[in-house]
């Protein structure tokens, strides 16, 4: 580690390079964490500060320079009078609640069925992993092709079995939201499945065996042993899924752009439109802050639930 000094010589300080090396070695703990700290300061802390500042300001870009004007709570007033905000909030909540409930139930069933199987487990896992990695824009495009009124797979299949009055799916105000939810089920059920399956696989098998020996039925084992043991995993999975569902953007942007009318206008989409289409940076930031606030309420709720379960 240190430059070897001849002991017969009078002790002279080690050379600068060695001293520096020694210093780095002793403080290595700090050097290695420094890049992360710098990135977090520049690209998370500073933007968060900017976001807070923007949400009480009007920001304009004049000749490439940002011009700030403090407006206080003006954006709150705008939001309260904005007719799209309540619609977007309602649509977001409907979407989030629908996908979280359906995907949790579906994933629970799938993972229990897969965990009881000895054959084909690899196939199920492989196929179900695909939707999680595919770009959401590609998912949106695929489903646009699937839902196409004239040449889409779904309507062609319906015609094949004799249904002539085929629906317009994403263009129908009543069917648009369910159509978008179906695409989300395709995309995200696997996420819940993988987490729940990991939870099931890490469970002690002896308890089940013991219960079986004592004459418990498969349903009783599921109801009184598996599900209670799975509770913490389930709560974590549902929490994450809720957070991600609030972020939904890409697929809806591509499938309906929030339409027809405002039938599928979700909050992220509306924030993007305010930001990019209307170029109201301040108002968009205020709405984004509001969305983060709603998400944190859900997170706190689930954390409480999780602590009680543990």
């Amino acid at each position: 580690m240190q430059s070897s000094l001849d002991s017969s010589l009078p002790t002279k300080p080690p050379n600068l390079v060695a001293r520096f090396g020694n210093f780095v070695d002793r403080t290595f703990q700090y050097w290695t964490v420094a890049p992360l700290v710098i990135v977090l300061l520049l690209l998370v802390a500073y933007p968060t500060f900017q976001l807070l500042r923007m949400s009480v300001s009007e920001v304009d870009i004049v000749k490439g320079q940002a011009v700030w004007e403090f407006v206080g709570l003006k954006h709150l007033e705008t939001a309260l009078q904005d007719p799209v905000v309540p619609t977007a909030l309602k649509n977001t909540l409907v979407f989030v609640i629908a996908v979280v409930i359906i995907e949790t139930c579906l994933a629970l069933v799938i993972s229990i069925l897969v965990s009881r199987s000895k054959h084909l487990v690899g196939l199920y896992r492989t196929v179900l992993l695909i939707p999680l990695l595919v770009p959401p824009i590609a998912i949106g495009t695929m489903w646009r092709l699937m839902y196409d009124y004239n040449y889409g797979f779904i309507n062609q299949a319906l015609k094949l079995i004799g249904i002539v009055a085929v629906p317009t799916w994403t263009a129908d105000p009543q069917l648009a939201m369910p159509s978008v939810v179906l695409v989300d089920l395709w995309h995200w059920t696997s996420f819940m499945f993988l987490i729940i399956l990991a939870g099931l696989e890490s469970m002690p098998q002896e308890v089940n065996e013991a219960a079986r020996v004592d004459g418990a039925s498969e349903f009783q084992i599921l109801r009184y042993i598996t599900l209670p043991l799975l509770r913490p995993t389930l709560i974590t999975a549902i929490m994450l899924r809720t957070i991600f569902a609030f972020k939904v953007f890409d697929e809806i942007f591509l499938l309906t752009s929030g339409g027809p009318g405002t039938a599928t206008e979700v909050i992220s989409l509306y924030i993007y439109k305010v930001f990019s289409g209307q170029f109201r940076l301040g108002y968009a930031s205020f709405l984004a802050l509001g969305l983060s606030f709603i998400i944190s309420i859900f997170v706190i709720f689930y954390r409480r639930l999780g602590r009680r379960a543990a």
């Binding site: 920001v59 092709l145 940076l281």
Partner: protein, 277 residues
């Protein structure tokens, strides 16, 4: 005698239905991408396969898809490299040294905070940063967003891998005269290679997939990525099904490759990253 149960039959039947539900859109898109327009509209199952859609998609005279592919690759590879360096150094430091709970809690808390926030939150601030650094509409601006996006998962995965290495291993290296840097690069990093593979694969794929940052931090093919290109193509020419399908399938290729070759790492990374959060 044990009676023959019908349960496995129904179980696999149900699961196979789900497999079909998952694969049908992909197969339909793949087959559409190889069809002439007349075969798409005829609706019959038989068709003459053609590469014309892919040729049009990649013809520089007709579309900028080649340029977008290059951008996507540069951004994904750059994001992966930077995220891996930052996350593995930080995970090393946080898991192998004694940290005051205040400091480590603050760092991990900030990471969790990023993971929770909807990406639209960052749009405004990142736009201003990109403008003031004069990197708006370049690959650098998009990469900046993707680094933030991917740091949490990568850090969590690598923390887990570092935490599982016994302390003695590093001590042995130190006794043999290695300094901290050498023991990190020559002893620890080789051991956590599976973790680096998992974190790297996920960072690459999540950068490749992203739409929102690329959409809002670029405006021309100079910085645009494949998803932005596909989306503007779909909205402009909603009737050119063949090219839409070809673009969508092309964008899926990295995902399919990862599923085929790095599946175990990815599942481990996804569930681990998720459960840490």
């Amino acid at each position: 005698m044990k009676k023959i149960s019908t349960e496995p039959f129904f179980r696999h039947g149900f699961l196979m239905l789900l497999v079909a539900f998952t694969l049908i859109p992909i197969i339909f898109t793949l087959s559409t991408s190889f069809k002439y327009f007349r075969d798409i509209t005829s609706g019959s199952l038989r068709f003459t396969p053609t590469l014309v859609n892919y040729q049009r998609l990649f013809d520089p005279a007709q579309s900028n898809f080649l340029r977008l592919t290059a951008n996507s690759l540069v951004i994904a590879a750059g994001t992966m490299a930077i995220v891996l360096v930052i996350a593995s150094l930080a995970a090393y430091s946080l898991s192998r040294f004694r940290w005051r709970p205040l400091w480590s809690g603050l760092l991990l808390g900030t990471i969790l905070f990023i993971h929770m926030l909807p990406p639209v939150t960052f749009l405004g601030p990142f736009y201003l940063i990109a403008r003031s650094l004069n990197i708006y509409d370049t690959v650098l601006a998009v990469m900046m967003g993707h680094i933030v996006l991917n740091l949490p998962t990568a850090t969590w995965i690598l923390l887990d891998f570092f935490a599982n290495i016994p302390k003695e291993l590093e001590e042995v290296a130190m006794v043999d005269g290695a300094n901290r840097f050498q023991s990190l690069t020559q002893v620890l990093i080789p051991i956590i290679q599976p973790g680096i593979a998992a974190a790297g694969a996920l960072a690459f794929i999540f950068s490749w997939r992203d739409f929102l940052f690329a959409l809002s931090l670029t405006s021309t093919p100079r910085g645009m990525t494949i998803p932005v290109g596909i989306s503007s193509f779909v909205q402009e020419y909603s009737i050119r099904y063949g090219e839409m399908a070809a673009g969508a399938f092309f964008a899926m290729i990295p995902a399919l490759l990862m599923v085929a070759f790095a599946q175990r790492y990815i599942i481990k990374g996804l569930t681990l990253g998720a459960l840490k959060g």
